[in-house]
Symmetry: C2
Subunit: 555 residues, 2 copies
């Protein structure tokens, strides 16, 4: 066995929260057999990725080694863990293993992308395991904010790794399995080489609260409300959806689910047998006909997404339902950083309708799905690993998690995307740096984050765009004047004349005076026209736009 | 006097936090003499205003009535209250009144915009007053997070209005005047018609904490830190800058100010006599030469601004100073909603350098400058106005503030930008709706938010841009093929051929087959070329770009 090694390589999710993609390998350096844990997505924003549909880890390194990939394991069905299995299927083509609920969501992702589902396998919890080359992998149930979340027991010739996935310590999670310390202790017996552990809430100092603590608060709110109540949360948080639905029924209200994701998740959870006693629901038409105080809408759009049910209801009549004075809207969720503007917009639109908006940052109506600092420490104590590798966090989370581990004597390392870590020895060691990056799904095309496409979009949105066209005849003499079009720029500037006219005049003047040699030099002419257009714009409107020059040469 | 009325008209700051601009008027309807309170700015973002430099209220309504404006009063020197006095000077040309510190900041704004400072007047606190047509206005000192903040006592023939401006109730504000209940009680004697009141923190349930509570916490942190300490806050929060500087000195550290705004604010506060015992500071060069544990940098950029000192220090060596393992960086500030991404980016860059980042959302190292709910109630009790008009808040804040007032029997109204309220009678009544909007400073040009310029920029950033050029000869026959350029779009799509080639082929094919009549019809041809370009792009890359068509017709 000498010369073989066990490696860990995060490609996504380490140094950020989102688009999780972790690789483990075992074998001779450069010949390791590989397994992949999770293939998730993250979401674009106008600051860094305008127009992009979805973001995922760049898997070029994996795709080049496709013949060495034994399998993909998906810990749970959140988008940042399962969202890219369909999109990346074609590049990796490895069998996918997951628990039943996760597999049913993964199947839909594969189908949506025209990928076969024949390579998708449902796995029962550990001690059942899947053999994947030198690895033997089991799913260890955990509490989180979606059913059938699991950590992974990854056995290799170099020892056992416990990969937590996302988790919290919840003994009464409403839906799904309570956290089972005994099970995790059992999996830790005989020694764990590395604990690869969720870091999201390392800055949250208090112990996490159970999902079950919310029911009385929410029921009270629904009972005291006079008009219609609407509540929003992540659809995938099936336990919360159940808590909300039960509270509604207890408060004498019928439940109506709005938003495709909300209906789908409840259906999937019912089909997979995870949600057996969900109250019967009514249609939007039925909801519209009932007295307002007898209705509770459970809706998508807790992050202010523009096309989700929350935003629709905040703006207009939606599926025959209209909110008004006296209604109550509960955000049973927290705002993910970056989504504040969208959520606040929805809140204000609701406020304009006279709706009472409830959003308590203190967590009265929401609990997190991730382990807080004391719950991370509990996991460290249970597993007592040889080394701690924080994942699922920005750099500040990973680095704080290493510090936290060090307080109880654990050896840790901050491993961010692209850092290949050798776990074979006593301490984690950086083996290699891999080019890790992001791939964007843009319309139907995959583009690299660094391809320049998005950079150009951002530049146009900051600076506007001027198009300059000029026709030169067979003798390289101008045929007519220079023609300009602008987009995203003010009509007039300093001289009060139309910007387009001023641009055309300055450019035509230059062309009129230019020597034959200048006009013949394709590259030089383009450059000069661009320079003048930018300079003229700077004088007129105080900004230098992007410029596209088209010189048509008749021949 | 019958037939005359007292009106209140917010043009900015009511229905949003930022770009404050309030109008009061007294006289016969349509002939009221006017005063303006505050002329502030707000800041652009990539989601709604890419490329824009500053945002302010649209003052078209005021500019059309310039001859009726008696004066402008500026309550304090925050950008959202004073930031537009220079930019809008030319359109309003009214005398400006402010207290000394505010006036010195306003003077700089005027100078920067080439406006005269001769119309700027320094006013001493109430009971001194300024006569402005039918109004008599006094500045009533208040505690806030910048020196010499003031509310306004606005006397009119129809009664007294108290306009709070921004305030908190702080009896030990470190710099500036403590909140003086007796003074406000005195100003309220004889009855107050309307209290126009800050609403920012209406959702903060606990009483506000004093600036003075921070000193021991910050001093402790600075003392325990081993390396260099860096602290950031709003430069205009002179009290906080003083608290930080004093704590540094107490912890045996020399203070270095970084960032133009930071140095300027301290200078201005010293020049106006408001800051007399600020510790002496050292230059960046001196700071670099001292042992790290003897240095404290006070820096700009608490909101993650890209070019500010914080972001510079997080990325690189800045003015000879380089942060590293063992240093501590304190955010003595809160993140303004919308700025999360930028701040978090800076935090992670610092974390990558091994710097310990301290940001406590609980407020251990930061207190707000605005009145919390109990402090709003205290103001209601002191003033006991006939009516309550909440301002300085989004719709949800204003509406919650009206609800809060109603709990203690106050008559209120949610008045958002553009709603002219008649205060003359017993109850506030909507008199008229004015077109209120936003004006953007874009480079050196003012554009309207609804002009379409920004909409085009956003569209280009979401969809990319295709430029189509075609030359038609004197007989309307195509001279050469169609030529395309693209910006912000992927190079290749479904067919693997360059997108530009596919576009040119489809467009040339259409032009080749087109009848003479089609090619002659200028508008129709443009439209058809655009349609085909969008359809081809949709097939190839799954998105429909913006298209600019240039058909050159030789004649």
């Amino acid at each position: 066995m000498s010369g073989e090694r066990l490696i860990y390589l995060p490609l996504g999710g380490a140094g950020e929260i989102g688009m999780n993609a972790y690789v483990y390998g075992y074998g001779r350096p450069g010949h390791e057999r590989l397994i992949v844990v999770d293939l998730g997505v993250t979401f674009p924003d106008m600051d860094t990725s305008p127009g992009v549909d979805l973001i995922m880890a760049d898997v070029a390194w994996l795709a080049e080694r496709r013949d060495r990939i034994e399998a993909v394991f998906v810990t749970h069905a959140h988008e940042d863990h399962v969202g890219a299995v369909g999109l990346l299927w074609d590049r990796l083509r490895a069998p996918i293993h997951a628990r039943r609920f996760t597999a049913s969501i993964a199947a839909r992702k594969l189908e949506e992308n025209g990928a076969p589902t024949s390579g998708l396998h449902v796995v029962e919890p550990w001690p059942q395991t899947v053999e994947a080359g030198p690895f033997r992998v089991g799913f260890l149930p955990l509490s989180h904010s979606i059913p059938e979340s699991a950590g992974l027991v990854i056995d290799s010739p170099a020892g056992r790794v416990l990969h937590t996935g996302d988790y919290k310590i919840d003994l009464t999670p409403v839906v799904g399995e309570p956290f089972d310390s005994a099970l995790w202790e059992k999996a830790s017996q005989g020694g764990v080489k590395a604990l690869v552990c969720d870091s999201t809430n390392v800055f949250s100092l208090n112990p996490g609260r159970s999902e079950a603590t919310l029911a009385p608060e929410i029921e009270g709110l629904f009972r005291d409300a006079t008009g219609m109540v609407v509540a929003t949360t992540f659809a995938s948080n099936v336990a919360r959806v159940k808590t909300l639905a039960d509270a509604a029924v207890a408060a004498g209200r019928s439940v109506c689910l709005l938003g495709r994701a909300m209906r789908r998740m409840v259906e999937t959870a019912q089909e997979t047998g995870l949600l057996t006693d969900f109250p019967s629901t009514i249609s939007p038409e039925e909801a519209a006909d009932l007295p307002r105080q007898n209705v509770c809408l459970l809706v998508t759009g807790s992050q202010g997404e523009r096309r989700a049910a929350s935003a629709q209801l905040a703006q207009q009549t939606y599926l025959g339902l209209k909110l008004s004075e006296g209604d109550t809207f509960l955000f049973s969720s927290k705002i993910i950083p970056g989504n504040e503007r969208g959520v606040i917009k929805v809140m204000n639109q609701l406020s304009e309708k006279g709706v009472t908006v409830i959003y308590e940052e203190t967590g009265r109506y929401h609990v997190s799905g991730h382990a807080n600092r004391p719950d991370l420490m509990a996991m460290h104590r249970i597993v007592q690993p040889q080394m701690l590798i924080p994942m699922h966090g920005e750099h500040r989370h990973l680095s704080e998690h290493v510090r936290l581990g060090a307080e109880s004597g654990l050896t840790g390392i901050v491993a961010t995307n692209g850092m290949m870590i050798d776990l074979t020895g006593d301490r984690p060691q950086v083996a290699e740096y891999i080019d890790a990056g992001r791939t964007y799904l843009d319309g139907s095309v995959f583009i690299g984050a660094m391809d320049g496409v998005i950079r150009d979009r951002i530049r146009m949105s900051l600076n506007g765009h001027v198009m300059v066209t000029l026709i030169l005849d067979e003798k390289d003499e101008p045929l007519g004047d220079v023609w300009c079009e602008v987009m995203g720029l003010p009509e007039t500037g300093r001289s009060k004349a139309p910007l387009v006219d001023v641009l055309e005049e300055d450019l035509s003047q230059f062309v009129g005076r230019a020597k034959r040699g200048t006009l013949r030099d394709e590259e030089g002419l383009d450059k000069e026209l661009r320079r003048i257009a930018r300079q003229t714009a700077q004088n007129e409107i105080g900004k230098k736009p992007e410029v596209t020059v088209v010189v048509s040469r008749l021949s």
